[in-house]
């Protein structure tokens, strides 16, 4: 039995188990039947194992170049290095859906074994929802629409190899799985929210049960988006990291609604407000991940990400419509039970800022959605083909982002219920001074665009509020618990990780904002044709072309330009190249990047003399501050980990076993 047969059989068995599990979980939740629940658990556990076996079978088939499988023949070649062979699991449609299904099966198993212990009825209902979704995806990959193990009648001698852009950089190993994890894990809060609506529980138990899942999926989505920006920067050779491409938009929209949710959820926990709203945000986040998959995978919009047209589009669209109809119907049906505990209070209270912040996040989501779907709608109505240019998004989203940056500083400084004048003075004096210093710092370093200066000022404002919070927290622990400075600092994270981890996330976001503002405001370009030995000057750097030479590897042929970069106290050897893969009609550019905390020097071999190698056209961009963007993404990830870690258990005084036995009588 080949790996392909094993994988195909495993998926079919998993589909059967998933159908069984759906029925068993529904019965278990309805009749509170323990035997049905344990049966559903077994189905979830074995089902997960089977889908993992299928995913590894595909990796094995790719690594061993089994071209009798269509997917392998289309996305692999004998010359493909093993690393890129294995990660080709997510290089195209069928494999990506297989990875998606594996993650979903894992989340289902997790709820089956862990979730149902804590709150049995709610989690069992959620488990039924998870099983239903898993069944849909297993149906997708066991029908011709997206069957990863579809066979070729005659196996070719060699496959065509992965898309040139997808085998040119190791970040391909990171960006898609992170994004998929983030996407798929949003289904957990969604399943609990739906379960809560079905059972008619007005309480907040669903939200407490899934808080950590919501945070983790949000963090994975965010870090996955930054990794995608980095991949685009390092591979596509245009020196940018974000283009308002429809698929980038599709990834950012659920992140926006999910960010809104992580904040408004605190209002529900503290004040029992915004109940319906939070449910709606969870539904919206999940629906937007499916919309994103639909846009990416169906070929309705074209972008660097789109795979070929496939029959999966209508199925995903049907799934999306079904989810929306079900969710909206349930929300309307149960809305009477979701009364809030009262109105939002004073305008200068933390809950009011959260509400305001939510409005801004929704506005950002809706305007991005408008710009993304408008071309589709326009083509459907008038037949005209058009696109919405980047400036639309810049003009609308930059003011929203600046307002959000401002609120990020204000919110944590305001108490719940409302603030007095004295509180305001105490909380905001230092941050306002910091904002002024930030604005001056921007102007002194040559960042003069208005939006960029505002970003520096607001960034400094937020940093000052965070520093102030940490300083106060440390001081309080030192006086209350008599701890040393360092111990107090680390205990802030251990005892109140959610709050202080959140502040670390805020710092990461500031870093990202500063990186975007700096790189957008101060990037410099130069393009020159050089003979070997010649050099060009740009922003204090000298770029010298040392040599131009062909390089041959088994899977590709390249023309490499050896560049020496000196200046501003730095020096580097860069090797931008034009790379020709056998399955590609034309060469793809591979930029040479000299990364630094101050500037990135980004070089592209744009053209060269193909006969004598006597000249090369080198495009050079000096991009200040862009590496803070990747750093900021990492800081966001670290902050999220701190916030997600469970606080240490309170020490429990254990009773001796004998006494327990006696007292139980």
């Amino acid at each position: 039995m080949s790996a392909g047969d094993l994988g195909a059989a495993a998926l079919r068995a998993a589909l059967f188990l998933s159908l069984w599990g759906t029925g068993a979980a529904i019965y278990a939740a309805w009749r509170r039947d323990a035997r049905a629940l344990s049966s559903a658990r077994v189905a979830a556990g074995i089902g997960f194992g089977l889908v993992v076996i299928a995913a590894f079978s595909m990796m094995f088939a790719l690594a061993t170049h089994d071209f009798s499988i269509l997917y392998v023949a289309e996305n692999n070649a004998r010359e493909t290095p093993t690393f890129y062979s294995i990660i080709s699991l997510w290089a195209a449609l069928e494999g990506s859906i297989l990875l998606w299904t594996a993650i979903l099966a894992g989340a289902t198993a997790f709820i089956a074994f862990r979730g149902t212990v804590a709150i049995p009825r709610l989690a069992t209902t959620a488990l039924a929802v998870m099983f239903a979704m898993l069944t849909f995806f297993l149906l997708l990959i066991t029908t011709p629409a997206a069957d990863p193990f579809a066979r070729l009648a005659v196996a070719p001698d060699n496959g065509s190899g992965p898309n040139a852009l997808l085998q040119n950089h190791p970040l391909m190993a990171l960006h898609p799985p992170l994004l998929y994890l983030g996407y798929v894990l949003t289904s957990v809060p969604f399943a609990y929210a739906i379960a809560s609506l079905i059972l008619g529980e007005g309480g907040d138990r669903w939200l407490v049960a899934t808080r950590r899942f919501a945070l983790i999926s949000w963090a994975l989505l965010g870090v996955g988006i930054v990794a995608g920006a980095w991949w685009s920067y390092a591979v596509l050779g245009w020196g940018g990291y974000w283009a308002w491409d429809p698929v980038e938009n599709a990834a950012i929209m659920p992140w926006l609604t999910s960010t809104a949710y992580l904040h408004s959820v605190m209002v529900e926990e503290k004040r029992s407000l915004l109940r319906t709203w939070n449910l709606a945000l969870v539904v919206a986040t999940f629906a937007l991940t499916i919309l994103g998959t639909f846009l990416t995978r169906s070929g309705v919009v074209n972008s660097v990400h789109s795979f070929s047209l496939s029959a999966i589009g209508p199925l995903l669209l049907g799934y999306l419509v079904a989810i929306l109809v079900l969710s909206v119907g349930l929300l309307l049906w149960r809305s009477a039970r979701l009364r809030d505990a009262g109105p939002i209070g004073a305008p200068l209270s933390r809950e009011a800022i959260f509400l305001f912040q939510n409005v801004l996040f929704m506005a950002a989501t809706l305007t991005v959605l408008l710009g993304t779907l408008y071309p589709l709608v326009a083509e459907a109505i008038s037949g005209a083909q058009l696109s919405i240019g980047g400036p639309y998004f810049d003009r609308v989203e930059i003011p929203v982002a600046l307002a959000l940056l401002f609120l990020m500083g204000v919110g944590p400084q305001l108490p719940w219920h409302g603030a007095s004048r004295a509180t305001l003075e105490r909380q905001f004096t230092a941050p306002i001074v910091a904002a002024a210093i930030g604005a001056v710092a921007a102007l002194v370093t040559g960042t003069t665009a208005l939006a960029a200066v505002l970003t520096y000022a607001l960034g400094a404002f937020v940093i000052a509020t965070v520093v102030q919070e940490f300083a106060r927290g440390v001081r309080a622990r030192r006086t209350l618990h008599g701890e040393g400075g360092l111990a107090a600092f680390s205990n802030l994270f251990r005892r109140n990780g959610r709050r202080y981890g959140g502040y670390v996330v805020h710092l990461g976001i500031v870093l990202v904002a500063l990186a975007v503002a700096t790189s957008q405001a101060r990037t410099v370009d130069a393009e020159r044709t050089l003979a070997p030995g010649d050099s060009l000057e740009i922003a204090g750097y000298t770029v010298r072309l040392d040599a131009l030479r062909p390089v041959s590897e088994p899977q590709r042929d390249s023309i490499v330009a050896d560049l020496a970069i000196t200046g501003n106290g730095a020096s580097a050897q860069l090797r931008p190249a034009l790379v020709q893969y056998p399955n590609s009609t034309a060469a793809v550019g591979s930029p040479g990047i000299g990364a630094g905390l101050r500037d990135d020097v980004y070089t592209i071999l744009a053209a060269y003399d193909q006969r004598t190698f006597s000249w090369a056209t080198i495009r050079t961009r000096v991009i200040p501050g862009v590496s803070w963007l990747w750093l900021g993404g990492a800081v966001v990830g670290i902050g999220a980990i701190i916030a997600a870690l469970p606080p240490p258990r309170r020490r429990v005084v254990r009773m001796p076993v004998a006494e327990v036995a006696v007292s139980a009588k």
Binding site: W238, A363, G371, P391, V396, E527, L530
Partner: protein
């Protein structure tokens, strides 16, 4: 609440007023002529690079290079002028999309040249879609 509603209205207005000016139409050369696209308005033209039309100025070692080619849909030809290194993907007889604007004399100044690099080449429809960015 009032402030929140106010912000929503401001952002809505911002979106509505910025949508139309930033709409970039994909047109074939024929459609561009029929519609009489105003000079200076950003559009995308999709078509084939006419065989024999692609030319560079002699390589200059002192500044950016100029290039020109003719993009055609078989009926109408448009002369495209641009500056910089053109993407390696661009070749005569193959599909291309150029973004830019018409000058008063009917030539097209390209700010961005997007070559199609489909493995299996099919002639672009009116305004075939960009597959590869060359510039921000």
């Amino acid at each position: 609440m009032v402030a929140a509603l106010g912000a929503a209205v401001v952002i809505g207005t911002l979106a509505a007023t910025n949508l139309a000016p930033n709409t970039v139409y994909y047109l074939t050369p024929t459609e561009a002529r029929e519609r009489g696209v105003t000079a200076g308005r950003t559009v995308r033209l999709g078509g084939l690079v006419k065989t024999g039309s692609l030319s560079f100025q002699p390589i200059s070692f002192h500044g950016p290079n100029n290039f020109e080619f003719v993009i055609t849909d078989g009926t109408v030809d448009v002369r495209v002028l641009g500056q910089g290194a053109i993407p390696g993907l661009l070749r005569e007889g193959a599909g291309a999309v150029v973004e830019g604007s018409f000058a008063a004399d009917g030539t097209f100044t390209a700010t961005q040249v997007i070559a199609k690099h489909d493995e299996v080449y099919t002639a672009p429809k009116a305004g075939a879609t960009p597959a590869h960015r060359t510039a921000p």
